[in-house]
Symmetry: C2
Subunit: 331 residues, 2 copies
Amino acid sequence: MPQLRQNIITLDWVIIATERAKRPDQFGRTVKVEEIIPEFDSSCPFCPGNESTSSVEKYRFEKNGKWSLRTVTNKFPALIEDGDLNSVTSGIFNSMNAIGAHDVVIEHPRHNGTLTDFTHEETVSILNAYLRSYKELKKNKLIQSIVIFRNHGKSAGTSLIHPHSQIVATPIVPNQIKERIASAKKYYSKNHECVFCRNLNDETKSGERIICETSHFTAFIPYAALSPFHIWIFPKRHASSFHEITTDEISDLAFNLKTVLAKLKNGLNNPDYNFTIRSAPTQEKSGKFFHWYLALVPRISVAAGFEMGSGMYVSPAIPEESARYLREIDI
Amino acid sequence: MPQLRQNIITLDWVIIATERAKRPDQFGRTVKVEEIIPEFDSSCPFCPGNESTSSVEKYRFEKNGKWSLRTVTNKFPALIEDGDLNSVTSGIFNSMNAIGAHDVVIEHPRHNGTLTDFTHEETVSILNAYLRSYKELKKNKLIQSIVIFRNHGKSAGTSLIHPHSQIVATPIVPNQIKERIASAKKYYSKNHECVFCRNLNDETKSGERIICETSHFTAFIPYAALSPFHIWIFPKRHASSFHEITTDEISDLAFNLKTVLAKLKNGLNNPDYNFTIRSAPTQEKSGKFFHWYLALVPRISVAAGFEMGSGMYVSPAIPEESARYLREIDI
């Protein structure tokens, strides 16, 4: 019997479609992907030697006199840093200049690596680069929201192979984030607790959907995961924004994230994925009721007309089975 | 300068990314798709002769003693028609049985056709099949929402090639529809008019984003279209639900939709697409402030980490340019 489940945080309902459910090991790519990517590509704007072609450098980490990571502005930015908003309302049409920021973290000098290939120290420095951009951008009072994300693979929207992440800062709070804040606030008013903390406690108690628990983070498949192997990594300590992360927590997150990504790679045959770090709006006080987290979505199913027309999802994966499968995958 | 635009109906903001914008003719498939699909496939459950393999038939239209269209229940339904909801709340975990319906309209006996190949009369009978399912399902008091949709092509989520559409009825109002209703209600309270009617009037007055206007319908690219060539087809007459459509309007919609699809096919080299028909919840009174419509989304861009983490979209297409391009495409 197919089941409807509601996600208490997003309020979205998902249909767990048992009639068309697949076994966890059936979700991986069916064809082994053996792309041969060189360590260096002279035409890549992110490869060493082409620094001048990749737009303005914001900062770099160095090691042995060479850069090990660079943060630059996107050459084709979705939002730009200088200018006025010039907000215009003409009847029903609202617009403003897309002032904000669009940073790119070039994660490694190597052209062909990815997070699962990097050392712990290298992963830590990527997270530190996110943190640095976040803190820097947050100082701009025009900026209302900062989203950190990583697209891995073509079906996840990557246009450049060279390993990189992105940070986008917007001068408005996106509607979806507004709604999540409103619903978290409502939950807090009613229950005097953070809905994310509650969710994490209940998931930990149940244990069924946990993938990887480390000192400061818990990775799990939500009870009402919208798509197969949709994973949330929650910090155990309540904090509303990523920029509150401590040095110890960065190190622990690097370990947790790398573990989960390695399990996905081995268990599902290196799927494309996106991950994103969600925080509370930058200029609002949402300390008590909102909780930052990382959402990781492997691109192993396609949202179609039903999802588009309803905002609901049909998932052919049973969260408990998917989580058990990943828990047991060796890395 | 990239621009932020807000969609007055969904309240979503989109970034019109002028720095990475493409010319309208650059959005089509780059490779001409010349799949040779036979008129008949003996292994297809929807082809004539295999009627017994395609689950329960709800009704059929006949012509010259043979079926010309059949509506059946989905063999692997996301929701099933018989049973009790058995709604369970256990702490933060809400679930219920997925009781509802999942109909499939087998649009044509031919295995290889699609809407742009069908005659006007055939297209009318497809819309009539939607209407028949909608009216039938609406009688069930458990059902709260009905979504009609069509997935065209692999990247749009089609699993079977044989031309078909689907109708899904759910026992809850999806969260996204709830939010749209709430925002339409708010607009109505404040402005004493339907926000959709207002939108249509303003789009018609401006004319810049109109693709095809017929007696009863207007197809346009919304001012804040979330993705390239995202199209809305609005009925001119205010009505909150698809089932209120008249015979004349069905015929006019068939013509309008076929025209728009032919323009997409010729102008963008036969892109995959989804379309969906959105109506007000079935058991609620939302007559004055909600307006049904058809949304058509060609799959020519990939939503990535930013879209996932914010619910906002970055579109590399300028709606006015895209609409002008489609207006001028011959069919």
